[in-house]
């Protein structure tokens, strides 16, 4: 049977990495903000606006790199807005996050419609191409999976150890975690809680937008309204699923990405025994199960969802 061939599995695993890439960018962004004590529900909208901005800049300038820059900048700006709401004003994090998702989603559609109009065929860009690393790509099995990929896939994979190093092996990371666990203690120790949270939300927002841009600039070659399709929420789930640890988040992203890749391939070969929605819904169910199982041992950052007011005893 075709499903069980080696080629099928190699293709599946390569696709798994590609499907995991937007999740990885967004998850690492969300991990950073949550580690600093801010839940950013603006993630879904930030990804969509990032996808739109990256595509639009690339379409207008003809440069993919400028497109990526545009996406990063857009994400950073949305992160800044989130920081203003959740840190400076100190209003409810999840409601302001949802507000940002609504705003960014609306802006994505509005700006796209203003600049592109509504042509019957959405104009496409020349997207990022799959790169082949000489020699390594010739390795059996591993070669085609790992060394024949988009550049952004490698960037996403490299991001995981980088975030881990940042969080657990640098002074800045210690500050971030302290701010997330106990902002008062951080402030007493001379760490600027506001500064750290602003930094994390801005960088986190940029990473989320990059995840969106991967969709419109590599995975596809155009911007589609339903493009992000809940991947932002999946990333929120992944941070929980990964217990706020970069490595576990990577494992989760690969697993969820793998489910997505499997579902697409099974649909393509006409697999009927299970509805394809089953594979799409699994990440959500598994995350809720994971939430229940971790509810007893509190692994979340201690001050998550709590605004911090400077100078209060």
């Amino acid at each position: 049977m075709e499903i069980l061939s080696v080629a099928f599995f190699i293709g599946l695993l390569a696709a798994m990495l590609r499907m995991a890439t937007p999740l990885l960018f967004a998850t690492m962004g969300e991990l950073l903000t949550e580690r600093a004590g801010v839940l950013n529900l603006g993630i879904e909208g930030t990804m969509l606006l990032g996808a739109m901005a990256g595509y639009l800049v690339a379409y207008k300038t003809g440069s993919l790199w400028l497109g990526l820059g545009g996406a990063l900048l857009t994400g950073a700006l949305l992160g800044l807005l989130m920081a203003f709401m959740a840190v400076t004003l100190g209003v409810s994090q999840h409601v302001s996050g949802l507000g940002i998702t609504l705003l960014a989603t609306g802006l994505s559609l509005y700006i796209y419609r203003m600049v592109i109009g509504s042509p019957s065929v959405p104009p496409s860009i020349r997207p990022f191409q799959i790169l082949t690393i000489p020699v390594l790509a010739q390795l059996p099995v591993i070669g085609p999976i790992l060394f024949r990929q988009y550049l952004l896939v490698w960037v996403a994979l490299a991001l995981v150890p980088l975030i881990w190093l940042l969080l657990f092996r640098t002074a800045l990371g210690l500050k971030i975690r302290t701010v997330g666990e106990n902002p008062k203690a951080a402030e007493v120790a001379g760490v600027s809680v506001y500064g750290i949270r602003y930094l994390c939300l801005i960088v986190g927002g940029a990473l989320m937008a990059l995840g969106g841009a991967f969709l419109s600039m590599a995975h596809f070659n155009m911007f589609l309204f339903g493009m992000v399709a809940g991947r932002g929420w999946i990333s929120i789930a992944l941070v929980v699923f990964g217990n706020w640890r970069p490595g576990k988040c990577l494992a989760g992203a690969l697993f969820f990405g793998g489910l997505d890749a499997l579902q697409l391939r099974l649909q393509a070969v006409g697999f009927q025994a299970l509805p394809y929605q089953f594979f799409l819904v699994l990440p959500y169910i598994l995350t809720i199960v994971a939430l229940v199982s971790v509810s007893r041992r509190a692994a979340y950052p201690g001050s998550l969802l709590l605004p911090y007011k400077r100078g209060e005893a």
Partner: protein, 414 residues
């Protein structure tokens, strides 16, 4: 005795409560005005077209009611839940649960007369939406599982369930798109005004707003809901069984959202499909916040967004401004309202200068027995802690005040 530090905030006169949503709406109209100008349209003409499109004729007005009804119900669902600090972000999924139940009734009971089928269908939708919300409600109440994330994720579980249903067992063979067959006529909500889509679900939505007002203002359960929302620990000490109250709130909240689904399915669409709601569940959060989590406010806010939703098509035709302006407006309104609430908190705490965070801290000490009672009359509807409130009192997940008796429980947070 637990020492609680409270921000002094007097109940505000009605005009002050009404001024914040108005300011937020004006801010949103102003900021979105930039987008209108970008589209090359005249600002006054565009907004005039928006309101003409929504209120310019008998049919337009009735359509505005059609568009407002689901927003009233999801707005009530969110408002009720937020009052108990059950962060129900899942009204969208609960709406779909209600619509799915309505479809099941409408496809199964083909011989039942309308006078029997309609009440069953509405009850069934209420129960389905309620049950869907009860899962995260119980997880929060019993296991302290974070409700923001679970309610959010359950939206997608329900959406994929509906997708699998209309693409599988319920798929109408002749249609091009995945959708269920039409529900029987007896299951369709009757049209109350001729030459319109003004169906029974619309007065029902207003009726529900009245019931929620009655519940919150005049019943022990409503009191318990508000007390739990203000401080679950204090409420528990005051003899309120917090876990049960959260579960019941979840059930009622989900039920209201489920009714919104029944209204859309049995009043408008008649076929179950993936696109039955353009995000009414999420808009419900905007409506609830804009309405100050008060049933009357919810009705007014829902009507406003009904106007905006309904008028956008006309505005787009006349001026060429994309209808997506509506989504932007929702987001901006929500953010503006959040900022405005902060202003209210600081204003009440001692004047406009309190806007500078931490400058003025008017606090009083109260014993816990008084706390729930005192707080329930205060501006407890705020979703976020206003400037200057001790964070430990306002942990969004009701974590105990540190050093309180029985404070061995782990703080409940995601």
């Amino acid at each position: 005795m637990i020492a609680l530090r409270l921000e002094r905030r007097h109940p505000l006169p009605l005009w002050q409560q009404a001024i914040l949503p108005l300011l937020s709406v004006l801010a949103a109209l102003g900021l979105c005005g930039l987008l209108v100008l970008w589209a090359g349209a005249d600002l006054v003409r565009a907004y005039a077209a928006l309101f003409v499109g929504a209120l310019g004729s008998r049919f337009a007005v009735l359509e505005t009611f059609v568009k407002s009804a689901p927003l009233i119900l999801t707005g009530l669902a969110v408002a009720l839940a937020f009052r108990a600090k059950f962060w129900n972000i899942g009204a969208e999924g609960q709406l779909y649960a209600g619509a799915t139940a309505a479809t099941w009734f409408g496809l199964t009971f083909t011989e039942t007369p309308a006078w029997l089928l309609l009440p069953l269908l509405l009850l069934g939708s209420f129960a389905a939406g309620g049950a869907w919300a009860l899962i995260p409600g119980l997880l929060k109440a019993r296991l302290k599982v974070d409700d923001v994330v679970t309610t959010l994720l359950m939206n997608y579980i329900m959406l994929y369930l509906v997708s699998a249903l209309v693409d599988g067992p319920w798929r109408e063979p002749v249609s091009q798109w995945p959708q269920s067959p039409e529900i029987v006529e007896a299951a369709q909500l009757p049209i109350l005004l001729e030459r319109s889509r003004f169906h029974l679900g619309i007065p029902l939505a207003f009726f529900c707003a009245g019931l929620v007002w009655l519940l919150l203002a005049r019943t022990p359960l409503g009191y318990a809901i508000k007390a739990v929302g203000v401080n679950p620990r204090a409420a528990e000490f005051g003899g309120i069984r917090t876990a049960r109250v959260i579960a019941v709130t979840a059930l009622l909240s989900g039920g209201l959202a489920g009714l919104a689904g029944a209204g859309e399915l049995a009043g408008i669409q008649f076929h179950l499909m993936e696109a039955i709601s353009p995000g009414y569940g999420y808009s419900g959060i905007v409506v609830a916040m804009l309405g100050g989590l008060h049933p009357l406010g919810v009705v007014l806010a829902a009507f406003f967004f009904g106007v905006v939703n309904n008028g956008a098509q006309h505005m787009s035709r006349v001026t060429g401004v994309p209808t997506y302006l509506v989504e932007v407006m929702q987001g901006v309104t929500l953010l503006a309202m959040l900022a405005a609430l902060l202003l209210l908190g600081s204003f009440a705490a001692g004047g406009a200068w309190a806007l500078i965070p931490g400058l003025l801290k008017a606090r009083l000490k109260v014993g816990n027995a008084d706390a729930a009672r005192a707080l329930s009359t205060l501006g407890s509807r705020m979703a976020g802690p206003p400037g200057g409130i001790d964070p430990s009192l306002h942990t969004l997940h009701g974590a105990p005040v540190s050093g309180s008796p029985g404070g061995d429980a782990p703080p409940d947070s995601p």
